[in-house]
Subunit: 344 residues, 2 copies
């Protein structure tokens, strides 16, 4: 089966697009040298690309359907973090061979999430090589209303969606790390955490509400502390967070508390939104959340001014008792994560 047939068989979900129509803004979809897409007036294009490599971004035995879901979800999460509406994506798929069962399941996971989030696949490329999936998502935002990392101000409150740490516990469960650390964990809780790892939820719906109140936003992909660090650095501020009020899932509450909090602070792959809201808007924001969303959203700390002392780095994160919780999330080019985490 050739490249063209692969795309036709597994990734052409719609009929040929009508050049005069406007199906989700797709003027010309898959099947020409490039896709042609129509933005609405007064909108800007928002775009991001992420690659998933087998054995690096997901365990090698991850079900193909989950790989399809996750490859799109992590990219949609970037659009959610920008306050953008997701519209289109392209797929560059590198496959070691033509495994039809794998392709069918992968395509099915991808298609299900694409349909749920109303995004259209507008271009594809398949090549032979070690399994890798690059997806570029494109969305739109009203002119100059994108949510950047750089807008956090002192006295803003810091919020996070969902319950970070679940995905990292899921990975630890799959890799046998929980067992080797002597942690007992019920199979039901393992299944819940592994599902959070394999089927992350892009917070697009939440983003629609958050963007109306937030001053800055990022999605938690590398670990909450590390990603909060990006906001702080870009915004030239520091922050205080209170781990004792941290949102933990029912599953994580069954772990020793210090271990659960370490997972919540440093674990990657959650794809929750981490954002700041000015103090005076917090009441209205929480009211809007309770009216429009079912997702748990928790205030975890506040932004403070950049420390005056030049010796102190921007973005050092302290808990109210002064214990330094600074740490690094997962860094793809850094093998010494454990050492770095314990260096303070």
């Amino acid at each position: 089966m050739g490249e063209f047939d692969l795309i036709e068989t597994y990734f052409r979900w719609d009929n040929d697009s009508d050049p005069t129509g406007d199906k989700n803004g797709v003027v010309t979809g898959i099947g020409d040298d490039a896709a042609v897409l129509q933005l609405e007036p007064n909108q800007q294009l928002v775009t991001s690309i992420d690659t998933l490599i087998s054995g690096v971004h997901f365990p090698e035995n991850t079900p193909a359907e989950a790989v399809g879901h996750k490859a799109l979800a992590v990219n949609l999460s970037d659009l959610a973090a920008m306050g953008a509406k997701a519209k289109w994506f392209t797929l560059a798929l590198t496959l070691p061979g033509t495994d039809h069962a794998w392709l069918k399941a992968f395509s099915s996971g991808l298609k299900k999430l694409a349909n749920e989030t109303s995004v259209s696949l507008v271009g594809g490329d398949t090549t032979r090589g070690p399994l890798a999936i690059s997806i570029q998502v494109m969305g739109t935002v009203e002119n100059n209303l994108s949510l950047l990392r750089s807008g956090a101000k002192p006295d803003d409150k810091i919020f996070v969606t969902g319950t970070p740490g679940d995905a990292a516990v899921g990975l630890a469960s799959i890799q046998g790390d929980l067992a080797s650390e002597g942690v007992e964990f019920a199979s039901e809780d393992k299944a819940i955490c592994e599902a959070r790892l394999n089927y992350p939820t892009p917070r697009l719906e939440e983003s629609e509400v958050i963007k109306q109140y937030a001053t800055s936003c990022i999605d938690v992909s590398d670990g909450l502390l590390q990603d909060l660090g990006h906001i702080l650095k870009k915004s030239q501020v520091s922050a205080v967070i209170n781990p004792s009020e941290f949102p933990l899932s029912d599953s994580l509450k069954k772990l020793p508390k210090d271990k659960a909090i370490q997972y919540a602070l440093n674990g990657g792959d959650d794809y929750e939104l981490l954002f700041t809201v000015p103090s005076y808007k917090c009441e209205a924001f929480m009211q809007a959340v309770s009216e429009k969303l079912t997702t748990h959203i928790t205030m975890i700390g506040e932004v403070i001014s950049q420390p005056k002392s030049e010796k102190q780095e921007i973005g050092v994160i302290l808990d109210p008792n002064g214990m330094n919780l600074r740490g690094n999330g997962y860094n793809h080019f850094n093998d010494d994560i454990r050492d770095e985490n314990s260096r303070d």
Copy 2:
């Protein structure tokens, strides 16, 4: 060196973009969850993604600078084939490790072509794994003026830019195939053909002229015959081409003529534009070419009606003597190219 540092060191070529500015339409570039890009009014977005894998899309010993050039060039070529103006690109880079000499040279090849073609790198992703480069390019076209594969009409003339076949001869030279076939080829000609393979020229400038006259267009990536087949299938027409009038480079003219023409017809990786122009516009088109371009552009055949007989397939390509020259170019998922080429 972490992922963030890699991007900072090798792929952040501009200063932080000014959110209120409009540098090439880049509102927010590298450094946030996604890029924010501004299209001009009455323009559509044109986008394409292509992945290059070491050992599949370029020989493993290809200089890193050439890899950087080619990865961007093949994508820009897709925009040229659509009649689009290239504006932005994102890069998903998978590296086996952090080889600074390689990264410096790769980045340099990429940057040089990006500067020459005025396209901005707006997003990046680096991951660890076997060497692979996915680039997604984005450009703009005036509303509904993109050049599709589907517009060819009977009596249109078929044209091609440059001298197809050079890149395939360059590959044959590198792989030792020329020598093993007993073909003598001067080292100067080898160097010329290898340069065409490693440093293809995206025909963006030519596209600006062609788009004003052409009814259909494609770039020659998989081989001229195979790519012409895509135009014919999409346009529901057939074609007659005359290989004896085929444009051959001075280097290819030194090969036995039948061999040179086989390379020109079936060799991939040229990234020349193949397009159709209505007969009545040909004179004006050639006039415009001679005034505005230095690139060789040759008429190689004409479009004819779809055969009436249902037994004949659409898009069968005949030379004027009735010899069937149908063949397939390179197909990444097909190991039986030789068999397919000879099945007629």
